[in-house]
Symmetry: C2
Subunit: 317 residues, 2 copies
């Protein structure tokens, strides 16, 4: 029996998983991410944890197909984080090379964490059975991963799938974290939806259960909970969100024409109701032949990263 | 010596080329496109022309690597025109299968004409030496082709690279040919630039050499000629065009992050001045890591299609 490891390096914890050769998870665990001192302990900690698990399970090096790793930043085709990783304290880091050295030659495959999570959803989640998949993570920000022909698209500067920073609104006055104005992330992320809610509520005095919450504390979850309870103002907010996201997906479809969009991240926990707002907007804006793309919800939650990183290895990418 | 044929089926003529195995053109010719009767003669005419050239040159079937064909419509991975081709009178057509039958088993590779032209520019034109290339054809409409890792992206419905129909303007009142409003094509095509010119001229009475031309006859060429002559109003029009196209390219970069954009089609004949309007807008709108993409002009003109279709064959796609 052959094995693969999936590693998902986040700002506070590193998630790890031991998988069999067809990408079924056998065991999951976590270690803390030590970002102190420029995060220089992170890669050695990952290596130690993987080697310890191999020893614990009696797995020989030659039975490990490889170790897949996702990390928060742009990763090029050679597995180098060319822009570093702010959340980890890293400057330019040869993630693949450094980890391979510490693992004594076990093959390492590294990619951007959002891309890896996208890949996980294709391997074992909402995009299962498809090979042209765009996964969109609706969290604090909006990330994305583009998979074409079953392969993750890194992009020439490791920046493919940065769909959160597609300019979607010309009339925005506030700035996105990236420095631009009108990015999709400003409307479709959890924080973006909360902002849309505050803006809508400030427009008039229409009654809404959302007014019972202090404006600065309204969350995306509050909005969709109110939608489910039949709140008309929340419905309007969700429509604005859906319009922006649907328009963003339409743009993406016009470029890469995927079979399926998989929506994940915290916002997607709202469930099927989310799709009912995104789908009509997508169909309204997309070029005809792309209209039939499926839009579905992610299924793996926080495990998408370890599935995807292990999947890169088991699928020989 | 091995040979390849490149075929570019247009609405009025079919361009053909005989190439050597490294995609150097040996001979070029044209035949008329007979669109009468549902265009049923087109594929037989192409087959006859290819077979006649082989006979003329004494080329044996086993020395032909294959025949590449580009046609105006969505072509799926199996070489089928799934939506037909309005300009040729075709309904759903098995372009690859039908042509292979008539050629007695010579391998045929078929793709959308804009995609094929994009591929040509990568093989032998403005994108030479790169493998992640987005080519944009600024003609009567705006077409595009996405090449990733040296391979043409068809898209799940044959509609990848339809960047002319990215929605780029929310305030448009006129309709695009596709039925939507605010498509990139409405501003960056030859007709789009003429429209921008008419709109700008109607805004006030600012002096401009463009006013000497009847409004309905102004062309994109007139605009860029006036720009080169220092006309201030033409400069404003070109800035509006550049802003739309730069924004469109930025969106594309955020999705697939190419190394280079190659701008072709009639509008690109304006030359380097075009880039001086597109580049600043691109840099203004694009996500940081994508900023370094090159933006360059196409070099093959109307031959891009035959180079690209032959290139699909010589590169073994």
């Amino acid at each position: 029996m052959k094995y693969a490891f999936g590693v998902d390096i986040g700002g506070t914890t590193v998630k790890l998983g031991l998988f069999d050769e067809t990408c079924n998870v056998l065991e999951k665990w976590e270690i803390p991410t030590v970002t102190a001192d420029g995060g220089k302990q992170i890669i050695p900690d990952v290596a130690e944890s993987v080697l310890a698990k191999m020893q614990e399970k009696g797995i020989a090096k030659e039975d490990v197909i490889g170790v897949g790793v996702g990390a928060p930043g742009a990763v090029n085709k050679d597995g180098v984080m060319i822009g570093g990783a702010v959340n980890l304290g890293w400057g330019v880091t040869d993630l693949k090379g450094d980890l391979e050295k510490l693992l004594g030659g076990v093959r390492v495959c590294a990619a951007n964490d959002a891309n890896v999570a996208a890949f996980g959803e294709m391997v074992a989640g909402g995009g299962r059975g498809y090979e042209d998949v765009v996964a969109v993570t609706l969290g604090t920000g909006v990330g994305g991963g583009v998979i074409l022909g079953g392969k993750l698209l890194a992009g020439s500067a490791g920046a493919a799938g940065e769909i959160g920073h597609i300019r979607i609104e010309d009339r925005e006055t506030e700035y996105c974290n990236c420095g631009h104005q009108g990015c999709l992330e400003q409307y479709a992320s959890a924080t973006g939806i909360a902002r849309l809610a505050r803006r809508r509520l400030a427009e008039d005095d229409a009654p809404s259960s959302l007014r019972e919450i202090p404006a600065e504390k309204i969350t995306a979850k509050d909005v969709f909970d109110a939608v489910k309870a039949g709140d008309a103002v929340a419905d309007e907010i969700a429509k604005r969100f859906g319009d922006y996201l649907g328009k963003g997906l339409a743009v993406v479809a016009n470029v890469v024409n995927p079979q399926v969009f998989v929506l994940g991240g915290g916002v997607s926990k709202a469930g099927e109701v989310l799709l009912s707002y995104v789908r009509p907007a997508y169909e309204k804006y997309v070029f005809g032949p792309c209209k039939n793309a499926k839009i579905t919800l992610a299924q793996l939650g926080n495990d998408a990263g370890i599935y995807g990183s292990a999947g890169m290895v088991t699928r020989g990418l």
